[in-house]
Symmetry: C2
Subunit: 168 residues, 2 copies
């Protein structure tokens, strides 16, 4: 154990190195706890985070196609297939043949799917509201602007396709 190896560095890496570690770490811890709320609920249903993401976007953009969903989630068709199949089999989501293009499958939530999506979003929303209050932020615009600016510019168009995005 450390006989003729590279010597240990004892000084901590601090913001003197010109890097904003505070926000980096705050984001890590905040996101971890933010996702822990729905994770606990999903476990009861035998679902994981992947199911949550699919269910969320199908509820937020009912009728979106498989291709559009893949684009939003940035995963492969094969990764989506497994979780989507489960959600359809368990009747949280239904597929409807595309009206103009019958190759397409429009994805819609069922009432069951709508209810679960809302149940998953509720604790997250509560956490956000409590945090805004604790941080004494009257409205969420500042935080929202910052988070939006953290996203790659090319991908912001996708966010605008959601209700109450920039398009409304």
């Amino acid at each position: 154990m450390s006989h003729k190896d590279a010597p240990p560095i004892k000084a901590p890496l601090t913001l003197k190195d010109g890097v904003d570690f505070a926000i980096i770490e705050h984001l890590f811890f905040a996101y971890r706890d933010f996702t822990s709320d729905p994770d606990a609920i999903l476990a009861e249903y035998g679902f994981g985070r992947a199911h949550h993401r699919v269910l969320h976007f199908v509820n937020r953009r009912p009728g979106l196609t498989v291709a559009e969903l893949l684009d939003v989630l940035r995963i492969t068709k094969q990764s989506l297939a497994r979780v989507l199949k489960q959600l359809i089999d368990d009747e949280y989501i239904v597929q409807v043949q595309g009206p103009r293009d019958r190759r397409q499958r429009e994805l819609y939530p069922t009432q069951k799917g709508r209810d679960l999506a809302l149940a998953l979003a509720l604790p997250q929303s509560r956490r956000i509201r409590a945090a805004l209050e604790e941080a004494q932020l009257a409205d969420s615009a500042v935080v929202e602007r910052f988070l939006r600016a953290m996203v790659d510019p090319e991908l912001r168009a996708q966010m605008d396709k959601l209700p109450n995005g920039r398009s409304q």
Copy 2:
């Protein structure tokens, strides 16, 4: 396909349901892009996000023990073992026997480990600074307060153990 199944719900889930979807989704997209920067670098080294987290905290709190690291990361000993072994074998981290308690293994970065940790943090820091500027936030205190408030109160003590936390 949707013959006598549960009917599809066509209306999108919006903030009328009393849930702040904007921040929920902004956090999702922001965190995804935030982690994509180091992910690209890690792939060149054959490492993953798990290695990043270990390397980060060992650099931020040199000399922490295995038990302390498990506590911060909230993973099991077995999950840590695999990535830690690689980081030690590749000489990014060295172990030093604890001075008071010789059962403990204090973890320190090597120069190589320090350099990589900094290289991984740099693009993230750049992204944060650009976002603060774009969102016209003179200082990061507001965002930091919000993110801290998003963390479970019990876990905030852990954040304070890092340099430039509340303890400094």
